[in-house]
Protein backbone atom coordinates (compact mmCIF):
# COMPACT_ATOMS: atom_id res chain seq x y z
CA UNK A 1 0.00 0.00 0.00
CA UNK A 2 1.06 3.60 -0.56
CA UNK A 3 2.40 6.11 1.87
CA UNK A 4 -1.06 7.25 2.73
CA UNK A 5 -2.12 3.64 3.11
CA UNK A 6 -4.18 3.92 -0.05
CA UNK A 7 -3.50 2.34 -3.41
CA UNK A 8 -1.02 4.01 -5.76
CA UNK A 9 -3.29 3.38 -8.72
CA UNK A 10 -7.03 3.41 -8.49
CA UNK A 11 -9.60 3.30 -11.25
CA UNK A 12 -13.12 3.94 -10.11
CA UNK A 13 -16.00 3.51 -12.52
CA UNK A 14 -13.72 4.38 -15.41
CA UNK A 15 -15.38 4.67 -18.79
CA UNK A 16 -13.54 5.17 -22.05
CA UNK A 17 -14.57 5.42 -25.66
CA UNK A 18 -13.13 5.45 -29.15
CA UNK A 19 -14.94 7.81 -31.51
CA UNK A 20 -17.99 7.84 -29.29
CA UNK A 21 -18.12 4.06 -28.98
CA UNK A 22 -17.74 3.15 -25.34
CA UNK A 23 -15.39 0.22 -24.74
CA UNK A 24 -14.97 0.53 -20.97
CA UNK A 25 -18.23 0.61 -19.05
CA UNK A 26 -17.11 1.39 -15.52
CA UNK A 27 -13.89 -0.34 -14.53
CA UNK A 28 -12.87 -0.51 -10.86
CA UNK A 29 -9.30 -1.51 -10.03
CA UNK A 30 -6.85 -0.86 -7.23
CA UNK A 31 -3.12 -1.52 -7.10
CA UNK A 32 -1.08 -0.82 -4.01
CA UNK A 33 2.67 -0.38 -3.72
CA UNK A 34 4.41 -3.72 -3.89
CA UNK A 35 1.36 -5.43 -5.31
CA UNK A 36 0.92 -7.30 -8.55
CA UNK A 37 -2.59 -7.21 -9.95
CA UNK A 38 -3.40 -9.28 -13.01
CA UNK A 39 -6.08 -8.05 -15.38
CA UNK A 40 -7.25 -10.93 -17.52
CA UNK A 41 -9.65 -11.01 -20.38
CA UNK A 42 -10.29 -12.19 -23.89
CA UNK A 43 -9.22 -10.33 -27.00
CA UNK A 44 -10.94 -6.98 -27.41
CA UNK A 45 -12.18 -6.84 -23.84
CA UNK A 46 -10.56 -3.45 -23.32
CA UNK A 47 -7.43 -4.48 -21.42
CA UNK A 48 -5.08 -2.27 -23.41
CA UNK A 49 -7.55 0.58 -23.20
CA UNK A 50 -7.63 0.19 -19.42
CA UNK A 51 -3.84 0.47 -19.27
CA UNK A 52 -3.85 3.48 -21.57
CA UNK A 53 -6.48 5.12 -19.39
CA UNK A 54 -4.45 4.36 -16.28
CA UNK A 55 -1.37 5.96 -17.85
CA UNK A 56 -3.36 9.02 -18.88
CA UNK A 57 -2.64 8.28 -22.53
CA UNK A 58 -6.29 7.69 -23.39
CA UNK A 59 -8.80 10.18 -21.98
CA UNK A 60 -11.50 8.74 -19.78
CA UNK A 61 -15.08 9.76 -20.43
CA UNK A 62 -16.40 8.92 -16.99
CA UNK A 63 -15.37 7.80 -13.54
CA UNK A 64 -12.17 8.73 -11.79
CA UNK A 65 -8.51 7.94 -12.17
CA UNK A 66 -6.56 8.33 -8.95
CA UNK A 67 -2.80 8.13 -8.73
CA UNK A 68 -1.28 8.31 -5.29
CA UNK A 69 -4.73 9.26 -4.03
CA UNK A 70 -4.97 12.27 -6.34
CA UNK A 71 -7.63 12.60 -9.01
CA UNK A 72 -5.52 13.16 -12.11
CA UNK A 73 -8.23 13.53 -14.73
CA UNK A 74 -7.03 16.06 -17.27
CA UNK A 75 -3.37 15.75 -16.39
CA UNK A 76 -0.94 15.32 -19.25
CA UNK A 77 0.41 11.81 -19.76
CA UNK A 78 3.94 13.21 -19.83
CA UNK A 79 3.57 14.65 -16.36
CA UNK A 80 2.21 11.39 -15.02
CA UNK A 81 5.12 9.56 -16.61
CA UNK A 82 7.56 11.96 -15.02
CA UNK A 83 5.94 11.36 -11.65
CA UNK A 84 6.47 7.63 -12.07
CA UNK A 85 3.82 5.96 -14.22
CA UNK A 86 5.39 3.63 -16.77
CA UNK A 87 3.46 1.87 -19.50
CA UNK A 88 5.21 -0.88 -21.41
CA UNK A 89 3.01 -1.39 -24.42
CA UNK A 90 2.09 -4.50 -26.28
CA UNK A 91 4.80 -5.34 -28.80
CA UNK A 92 7.55 -4.01 -26.52
CA UNK A 93 8.45 -0.87 -28.44
CA UNK A 94 12.19 -1.39 -28.66
CA UNK A 95 14.05 -0.04 -31.66
CA UNK A 96 14.94 -3.15 -33.67
CA UNK A 97 17.71 -1.62 -35.76
CA UNK A 98 19.55 -0.13 -32.82
CA UNK A 99 21.85 -2.07 -30.56
CA UNK A 100 20.86 -2.99 -27.04
CA UNK A 101 23.22 -0.34 -25.77
CA UNK A 102 21.74 2.35 -28.02
CA UNK A 103 18.25 1.39 -26.93
CA UNK A 104 19.34 1.89 -23.34
CA UNK A 105 21.21 5.09 -24.06
CA UNK A 106 18.01 6.64 -25.36
CA UNK A 107 16.77 6.54 -21.81
CA UNK A 108 19.37 9.05 -20.70
CA UNK A 109 16.70 11.69 -21.23
CA UNK A 110 15.55 10.73 -17.74
CA UNK A 111 18.62 12.53 -16.45
CA UNK A 112 20.81 9.51 -15.86
CA UNK A 113 24.19 8.98 -17.42
CA UNK A 114 24.81 6.26 -19.99
CA UNK A 115 26.83 4.27 -17.47
CA UNK A 116 24.08 4.41 -14.85
CA UNK A 117 21.43 3.31 -17.33
CA UNK A 118 23.58 0.48 -18.66
CA UNK A 119 24.76 -0.72 -15.26
CA UNK A 120 21.24 -0.82 -13.86
CA UNK A 121 19.96 -2.75 -16.88
CA UNK A 122 22.79 -5.30 -16.93
CA UNK A 123 22.61 -5.83 -13.18
CA UNK A 124 18.99 -6.79 -13.44
CA UNK A 125 19.19 -8.60 -16.77
CA UNK A 126 22.73 -9.97 -17.20
CA UNK A 127 21.87 -11.46 -20.58
CA UNK A 128 21.44 -7.94 -21.96
CA UNK A 129 25.02 -7.22 -20.92
CA UNK A 130 26.22 -10.15 -23.00
CA UNK A 131 24.33 -8.83 -26.00
CA UNK A 132 24.94 -5.13 -25.60
CA UNK A 133 26.30 -4.64 -29.12
CA UNK A 134 23.66 -6.77 -30.82
CA UNK A 135 20.78 -5.19 -32.73
CA UNK A 136 17.67 -5.33 -30.58
CA UNK A 137 15.67 -6.82 -33.45
CA UNK A 138 17.87 -9.89 -33.43
CA UNK A 139 17.28 -10.62 -29.74
CA UNK A 140 14.94 -13.41 -28.78
CA UNK A 141 11.41 -12.38 -27.81
CA UNK A 142 12.12 -12.82 -24.13
CA UNK A 143 15.30 -10.77 -24.35
CA UNK A 144 13.45 -8.02 -26.20
CA UNK A 145 10.87 -7.99 -23.45
CA UNK A 146 13.68 -7.74 -20.89
CA UNK A 147 15.11 -4.82 -22.82
CA UNK A 148 11.71 -3.15 -22.82
CA UNK A 149 11.44 -3.71 -19.06
CA UNK A 150 14.96 -2.41 -18.51
CA UNK A 151 14.15 0.69 -20.52
CA UNK A 152 10.99 1.26 -18.54
CA UNK A 153 12.76 0.79 -15.23
CA UNK A 154 15.24 3.56 -15.98
CA UNK A 155 12.37 5.98 -15.41
CA UNK A 156 12.24 4.77 -11.79
CA UNK A 157 8.53 3.94 -11.96
CA UNK A 158 6.22 3.79 -8.97
CA UNK A 159 3.41 2.34 -11.07
CA UNK A 160 4.30 -0.16 -13.77
CA UNK A 161 1.74 -1.08 -16.42
CA UNK A 162 2.57 -4.14 -18.48
CA UNK A 163 0.60 -5.08 -21.58
CA UNK A 164 0.68 -8.74 -22.63
CA UNK A 165 4.22 -9.41 -21.52
CA UNK A 166 3.90 -13.06 -22.52
CA UNK A 167 2.75 -12.51 -26.06
CA UNK A 168 4.55 -14.84 -28.44
CA UNK A 169 6.92 -16.20 -25.79
CA UNK A 170 7.60 -19.74 -24.65
CA UNK A 171 6.13 -20.68 -21.24
CA UNK A 172 9.55 -21.06 -19.59
CA UNK A 173 10.63 -17.63 -20.79
CA UNK A 174 7.38 -16.15 -19.53
CA UNK A 175 7.81 -17.74 -16.11
CA UNK A 176 11.32 -16.27 -15.91
CA UNK A 177 10.07 -12.82 -16.92
CA UNK A 178 7.36 -12.88 -14.31
CA UNK A 179 9.92 -13.76 -11.66
CA UNK A 180 11.65 -10.48 -12.58
CA UNK A 181 8.33 -8.66 -12.40
CA UNK A 182 7.76 -10.09 -8.93
CA UNK A 183 11.21 -8.79 -7.94
CA UNK A 184 10.29 -5.35 -9.23
CA UNK A 185 7.06 -5.38 -7.23
CA UNK A 186 8.97 -6.44 -4.12
CA UNK A 187 10.92 -3.20 -4.42
CA UNK A 188 7.67 -1.35 -3.78
CA UNK A 189 6.38 -0.78 -7.30
CA UNK A 190 2.66 -1.11 -7.98
CA UNK A 191 2.36 -3.46 -10.96
CA UNK A 192 -0.71 -3.92 -13.13
CA UNK A 193 -0.28 -6.74 -15.63
CA UNK A 194 -2.60 -7.38 -18.52
CA UNK A 195 -2.74 -10.87 -19.94
CA UNK A 196 -4.96 -12.87 -22.18
CA UNK A 197 -3.68 -16.23 -20.97
CA UNK A 198 -3.48 -16.39 -17.25
CA UNK A 199 -1.37 -19.24 -15.94
CA UNK A 200 2.05 -17.61 -15.62
CA UNK A 201 1.00 -14.30 -14.17
CA UNK A 202 -1.30 -15.87 -11.60
CA UNK A 203 1.72 -17.43 -9.90
CA UNK A 204 2.95 -14.00 -8.86
CA UNK A 205 -0.30 -12.01 -8.72
CA UNK A 206 -1.71 -10.84 -5.41
CA UNK A 207 -5.06 -10.20 -6.98
CA UNK A 208 -6.72 -10.88 -10.28
CA UNK A 209 -9.55 -9.23 -12.14
CA UNK A 210 -11.44 -10.49 -15.13
CA UNK A 211 -12.38 -7.98 -17.81
CA UNK A 212 -15.05 -8.90 -20.31
CA UNK A 213 -16.54 -6.47 -22.81
CA UNK A 214 -15.42 -3.46 -20.81
CA UNK A 215 -16.72 -4.65 -17.44
CA UNK A 216 -15.15 -6.48 -14.52
CA UNK A 217 -17.50 -9.30 -13.57
CA UNK A 218 -15.05 -10.95 -11.18
CA UNK A 219 -12.22 -9.72 -8.99
CA UNK A 220 -10.44 -11.44 -6.16
CA UNK A 221 -7.69 -13.72 -5.00
CA UNK A 222 -6.18 -15.80 -7.79
CA UNK A 223 -6.98 -19.30 -6.58
CA UNK A 224 -8.49 -22.39 -8.08
CA UNK A 225 -11.98 -20.96 -8.51
CA UNK A 226 -10.62 -18.32 -10.85
CA UNK A 227 -9.79 -20.90 -13.50
CA UNK A 228 -13.38 -22.04 -13.65
CA UNK A 229 -14.51 -18.41 -13.81
CA UNK A 230 -12.06 -17.64 -16.57
CA UNK A 231 -13.03 -20.50 -18.79
CA UNK A 232 -16.69 -19.67 -18.42
CA UNK A 233 -16.07 -16.03 -19.33
CA UNK A 234 -13.75 -16.91 -22.20
CA UNK A 235 -16.15 -19.43 -23.59
CA UNK A 236 -19.07 -17.10 -23.16
CA UNK A 237 -21.18 -19.33 -20.91
CA UNK A 238 -21.25 -16.80 -18.07
CA UNK A 239 -24.32 -14.58 -17.80
Amino acid sequence: MGATGGPLLELSGVRAAYDGITVLHGVDLEVGAGQVVALLGPNGAGKTTTLKAAAGVHPISGGRLLLGGRDVCGARAGELARAGVCLIPEGRGVFPNLSVRDNLWMMTFTGRTREEVEDAAYARFPVLGDRRAQAAGTLSGGEQQMLALARGLTTDPAVLLLDELSMGLAPLVVADLYERVADIAREGVAVLVVEQFAAAVLKIADRAAVLVRGRIPWQGHPDGSLHAELSSYYLGSAP
Partner: protein, 139 residues
Amino acid sequence: MTSSPAPEPRAERFVRELAELKIPDPAVARAALWLRLGGVLMAVGLVLGAVAFPLAHGTDNSLAQGDALAVGLGGIAAAVVGAALFLRYSLTGFLRFWLARQSYDLELLGERLTTTPPTTSLPEGDPRNGVPRTDPAPR
Protein backbone atom coordinates in the same frame (compact mmCIF):
# COMPACT_ATOMS: atom_id res chain seq x y z
CA MET B 1 3.68 -9.75 -3.19
CA THR B 2 1.42 -8.71 -0.40
CA SER B 3 3.54 -10.06 2.41
CA SER B 4 6.65 -8.10 1.50
CA PRO B 5 7.27 -5.04 3.66
CA ALA B 6 7.63 -2.77 0.66
CA PRO B 7 10.20 0.00 0.96
CA GLU B 8 7.90 2.99 0.99
CA PRO B 9 10.05 5.99 0.00
CA ARG B 10 9.35 5.62 -3.75
CA ALA B 11 5.62 5.37 -3.12
CA GLU B 12 5.79 8.30 -0.75
CA ARG B 13 7.62 10.39 -3.29
CA PHE B 14 5.05 9.40 -5.92
CA VAL B 15 2.20 10.51 -3.69
CA ARG B 16 3.93 13.78 -2.90
CA GLU B 17 4.82 14.57 -6.51
CA LEU B 18 1.28 13.90 -7.64
CA ALA B 19 -0.12 16.02 -4.86
CA GLU B 20 2.08 18.86 -6.11
CA LEU B 21 1.21 18.27 -9.76
CA LYS B 22 -0.63 21.16 -11.36
CA ILE B 23 -3.46 19.81 -13.44
CA PRO B 24 -4.76 22.32 -15.95
CA ASP B 25 -8.51 22.84 -15.90
CA PRO B 26 -9.58 22.68 -19.58
CA ALA B 27 -12.23 25.39 -19.06
CA VAL B 28 -9.63 27.77 -17.64
CA ALA B 29 -7.27 27.04 -20.51
CA ARG B 30 -10.01 27.82 -23.03
CA ALA B 31 -10.89 31.08 -21.28
CA ALA B 32 -7.24 32.08 -21.30
CA LEU B 33 -7.11 31.39 -25.03
CA TRP B 34 -10.14 33.58 -25.73
CA LEU B 35 -8.68 36.29 -23.56
CA ARG B 36 -5.44 36.23 -25.51
CA LEU B 37 -7.31 36.17 -28.82
CA GLY B 38 -9.29 39.22 -27.71
CA GLY B 39 -6.12 41.05 -26.74
CA VAL B 40 -4.45 40.23 -30.05
CA LEU B 41 -7.49 41.27 -32.10
CA MET B 42 -7.70 44.53 -30.23
CA ALA B 43 -4.03 45.33 -30.82
CA VAL B 44 -4.08 44.26 -34.47
CA GLY B 45 -7.26 46.24 -35.09
CA LEU B 46 -5.79 49.39 -33.63
CA VAL B 47 -2.62 49.02 -35.70
CA LEU B 48 -4.64 48.42 -38.88
CA GLY B 49 -6.80 51.44 -38.17
CA ALA B 50 -3.74 53.61 -37.64
CA VAL B 51 -1.95 52.25 -40.72
CA ALA B 52 -4.97 52.98 -42.89
CA PHE B 53 -4.38 56.70 -42.65
CA PRO B 54 -0.84 56.82 -44.12
CA LEU B 55 -2.00 54.26 -46.71
CA ALA B 56 -4.81 56.51 -47.86
CA HIS B 57 -2.76 59.66 -47.50
CA GLY B 58 0.19 58.39 -49.50
CA THR B 59 -1.66 57.91 -52.78
CA ASP B 60 -3.73 59.89 -55.26
CA ASN B 61 -5.35 56.76 -56.61
CA SER B 62 -8.87 56.73 -55.25
CA LEU B 63 -9.10 52.95 -55.72
CA ALA B 64 -6.10 52.45 -53.43
CA GLN B 65 -7.64 54.93 -51.03
CA GLY B 66 -10.80 52.86 -51.01
CA ASP B 67 -8.74 49.79 -50.15
CA ALA B 68 -7.07 51.69 -47.33
CA LEU B 69 -10.49 52.69 -46.04
CA ALA B 70 -11.54 49.06 -46.06
CA VAL B 71 -8.39 48.14 -44.12
CA GLY B 72 -9.14 50.83 -41.59
CA LEU B 73 -12.75 49.74 -41.16
CA GLY B 74 -11.69 46.12 -40.84
CA GLY B 75 -9.20 47.17 -38.20
CA ILE B 76 -11.86 49.00 -36.26
CA ALA B 77 -14.21 46.03 -36.46
CA ALA B 78 -11.45 43.71 -35.25
CA ALA B 79 -10.66 46.06 -32.40
CA VAL B 80 -14.31 46.20 -31.35
CA VAL B 81 -14.72 42.43 -31.45
CA GLY B 82 -11.38 41.95 -29.69
CA ALA B 83 -12.33 44.43 -27.00
CA ALA B 84 -15.62 42.65 -26.45
CA LEU B 85 -13.87 39.29 -26.12
CA PHE B 86 -11.22 40.75 -23.89
CA LEU B 87 -13.72 42.42 -21.60
CA ARG B 88 -15.91 39.33 -21.53
CA TYR B 89 -13.08 37.09 -20.41
CA SER B 90 -11.16 39.49 -18.24
CA LEU B 91 -14.20 40.88 -16.48
CA THR B 92 -15.81 37.55 -15.66
CA GLY B 93 -13.12 36.75 -13.14
CA PHE B 94 -13.42 40.19 -11.61
CA LEU B 95 -17.22 40.30 -11.76
CA ARG B 96 -17.51 36.90 -10.15
CA PHE B 97 -15.43 38.20 -7.28
CA TRP B 98 -17.40 41.42 -7.18
CA LEU B 99 -20.71 39.54 -7.09
CA ALA B 100 -19.51 37.32 -4.27
CA ARG B 101 -18.38 40.40 -2.39
CA GLN B 102 -21.71 42.12 -3.04
CA SER B 103 -23.79 39.23 -1.77
CA TYR B 104 -21.56 38.93 1.26
CA ASP B 105 -22.02 42.62 2.04
CA LEU B 106 -25.77 42.34 1.56
CA GLU B 107 -25.95 39.44 3.94
CA LEU B 108 -23.90 41.32 6.49
CA LEU B 109 -26.18 44.32 6.17
CA GLY B 110 -29.26 42.19 6.55
CA GLU B 111 -27.83 40.60 9.67
CA ARG B 112 -27.02 43.99 11.18
CA LEU B 113 -30.48 45.32 10.44
CA THR B 114 -32.21 42.35 12.03
CA THR B 115 -30.01 42.20 15.13
CA THR B 116 -29.54 45.89 16.13
CA PRO B 117 -32.05 47.05 18.76
CA PRO B 118 -34.59 49.61 17.61
CA THR B 119 -33.33 53.19 17.83
CA THR B 120 -36.23 54.22 20.12
CA SER B 121 -34.02 53.39 23.09
CA LEU B 122 -32.13 56.63 22.49
CA PRO B 123 -32.88 59.44 24.91
CA GLU B 124 -35.83 61.41 23.59
CA GLY B 125 -35.18 64.88 22.26
CA ASP B 126 -31.39 64.50 22.14
CA PRO B 127 -30.37 66.50 19.08
CA ARG B 128 -27.15 64.53 18.73
CA ASN B 129 -28.90 61.18 18.46
CA GLY B 130 -27.11 59.74 21.44
CA VAL B 131 -23.60 60.57 20.33
CA PRO B 132 -21.71 61.55 23.49
CA ARG B 133 -20.85 65.17 23.90
CA THR B 134 -17.14 65.78 23.43
CA ASP B 135 -17.35 69.51 23.45
CA PRO B 136 -17.12 70.71 27.04
CA ALA B 137 -18.36 74.18 26.22
CA PRO B 138 -22.12 74.63 26.64
CA ARG B 139 -24.02 75.66 23.58
